[in-house]
């Protein structure tokens, strides 16, 4: 066992290039969104805002999920890196407010969810009457929909913020009380999270195409948010290490993160494929219409999705040495993060527009700008949250195990 002495009160300073670049990202994002609205592509801008707000919220709430999983598993290896997911979880309330504003504005300006949110669809014998949507209106109606969003996201935010607070109190007071408290609440949180995230995904993304449904969709989204959160954690830790912080993070920690990213990329593919195969095999038109849209105009994105999210992590992270290599893990994590943007793009855009139509979907300034804006916002918010506390939870009961972690 090594007897290294690390500076356990080390604190991250959020200055310099990281700060400038994230602010530049935010400004570019605001510019692109403004351009989107003023050039008349309102619906497309809203779709992009929804995509990135959803992505942002998902990554942050999976940060809370990561914390809960570590507490419930009583994992030792991660004790010294918990401040990074804690910072992500701390940002969740901001992400939630943005997501709720985007959903609310999109709903009331009829830019999002007009598939089901139009009351005329429910008028029997009316000109726009839609029997299927009317049948779903007990679940898909605006008050219940917004209520679910607020309640779910509120609960996630509450736990996300609390995990960070308890960990910080543990820093100040020591003892096992806060660990036990976190453990107990992590159990409660996981049960709530497990049952509600599929519904959250059904609401936020699947209801854009309200005629179509898939019971796999919730888990498919869960896999996507979880693996993108792991990739984000890996990116933040590696970049912090390169900037000279967190010297206690060794190759074995990276190995564990690499295994996580590898395993859950395969899991994502498994769920994605389970959804695809059943629809392909049964070949019923009300189900295949979903993939019909994705094969007309969006073929490139459809296959790119699999290349980025399945083939890249599969081939690059299979080898043990690659999981332990900082450069390869960083590269794969960034590819996976871009890949899940493509994944969400695949979920949202084809349901709203045909590819390449005027004011419709495509890949241009609005897409890139909005993505950059939210990446900047995420970086800015997470790094400022991270800089407020020491980089290691010094009274975590498993800290020694994590500092001496060796695989």
């Amino acid at each position: 066992m090594g007897t290294h002495h690390y500076n356990l009160s080390e604190q991250f300073e959020f200055t310099g290039k990281a700060k400038t670049l994230s602010i530049v990202g935010i400004v570019l994002g605001i510019g692109a969104i403004a351009y989107g609205f003023f050039s008349g592509a309102q619906e497309r801008t809203f779709a992009n805002l929804l995509l990135m707000a959803y992505y942002f919220a998902c990554v942050c709430m999976s940060g809370a999920f990561f914390l809960a999983v570590q507490y419930v598993a009583q994992a030792g290896w991660s004790a010294s890196i918990l401040r990074v997911p804690q910072a992500m979880a701390r940002v969740l309330p901001i992400a939630v407010v943005i997501l709720l504003v985007v959903i609310g504005l999109g709903l009331f300006t009829h830019n999002l969810y007009h598939h089901w949110a139009d009351p005329e669809l429910l008028v029997e014998n009316g000109p726009k009457y839609d029997k299927l949507i009317a049948g779903k209106s007990a679940f898909l109606n605006i008050p219940f929909f917004m209520g679910r969003q607020v309640v779910f996201l509120g609960i996630y935010s509450f736990f996300a913020v609390k995990f960070g607070q308890w960990s910080y109190n543990e820093d100040l007071q020591g003892g096992l009380n806060y660990y036990r408290k976190s453990f107990k609440n992590a159990c409660i949180f996981l049960v709530i999270y497990g049952f509600t995230t599929p519904i959250f995904a059904f609401d936020t993304i699947m209801s854009l195409e309200a005629h179509w449904f898939s019971t796999m969709f919730g888990w498919y989204n869960f896999a996507a948010m979880w693996v993108s959160c792991l990739a984000a954690i890996a990116v933040i830790i590696i970049l912090l290490r390169r900037a000279g912080y967190m010297s206690w993070v060794n190759n074995s920690h990276l190995h564990n993160l690499g295994q996580f990213i590898f395993g859950f990329s395969i899991f994502w593919t498994y769920v994605w494929f389970a959804q695809f195969l059943l629809i392909y095999y049964a070949n019923m038109s009300e189900e295949t219409v979903y993939f019909y849209k994705r094969f007309n105009g969006y073929e490139f994105w459809f296959y790119l999705n699999l290349v980025l999210n399945f083939l890249t992590p599969l081939l690059l992270l299979m080898d043990r040495d690659n999981k332990r290599s900082e450069t390869i893990l960083l590269t794969v994590s960034i590819v996976v993060l871009c890949g899940h943007w493509v994944d969400y793009y695949q979920m949202i855009m084809p349901g709203i527009f045909e590819f390449g139509t005027k004011s419709g979907s495509g890949f241009g300034i609005i897409e890139i700008g909005t993505a950059l804006g939210f990446v900047g916002l995420f970086t800015f918010a997470v790094l400022s949250a991270l800089s407020k506390k020491p980089l290691v939870a010094k009274n975590h009961p498993f800290l020694q195990e994590s500092l001496n972690h060796h695989l």
């Binding site: 494929f273 695809f276 195969l277 392909y280 095999y281 070949n283 299979m318 043990r320 060796h406």
Partner: protein, 178 residues
């Protein structure tokens, strides 16, 4: 010339055994192998054991399974007996992904069990190769090749000094043939 083939130092405590390994290595005595009833953290690095190539073998066993299944399915559904199922192409790849996946795993698992048997000589019907039976129970054994390292008294002293409960001079390598 003595008939001693192997000298076994039998330890009751893993830390003392690790200490024994250090002592022998400091005196440039080559260790044949170490047998323990449980995995010891960090022992591979200490003994300089090369990394297992089992993962590479696993990859090739797996890819063999993939290719076998895809070839078999192609021959069966597209060449030998094409049947129109739901208007799909004869070789409808997504349909056969699950079974390809299964065969990949099956080949990988069987191949690894086979490799394990081959490398440990644990074929059914064959006596297992054991140098000291208590290494499977409660003792930690360091084995030193007595033919290569001729200063037997020094080895004995080093092992005893490190805390060996017992030092055996064996005239045959494996006791299990008896």
């Amino acid at each position: 010339m003595s008939n001693i083939k192997y000298i076994l130092g039998s330890f009751g405590d893993p830390d003392e055994m690790m200490h024994g390994i250090e002592k022998l290595q400091e005196n440039n005595i080559k260790i044949h192998d170490v047998y323990t009833p449980m995995p010891i953290h960090g022992i591979e690095a200490k003994l300089g054991v090369k990394r297992s190539r089992l993962d590479i073998a696993a990859f090739f066993f797996g890819i063999t399974g993939t290719i076998t299944m895809l070839t078999g399915v192609y021959l069966a559904t597209a060449v030998d007996w094409p049947v129109n199922i739901g208007g799909k192409t004869h070789f409808a790849l997504p349909d056969f992904i699950p079974i390809t996946f299964e065969l990949t795993i099956l080949f990988c698992a069987f191949g690894l069990v086979g490799s394990y048997y081959a490398s440990t000589h644990l074929f059914p019907g064959r006596a297992p190769r054991v140098m000291d039976l208590r290494a499977t129970d409660d003792r930690f054994i360091i084995a030193v090749d007595a033919k290569e390292n001729t200063d037997h008294t020094k080895i004995d002293e080093l092992l005893k000094g490190a805390g060996a409960l017992e030092v055996k001079h064996n005239e045959r390598k494996y006791i299990s043939y008896e």
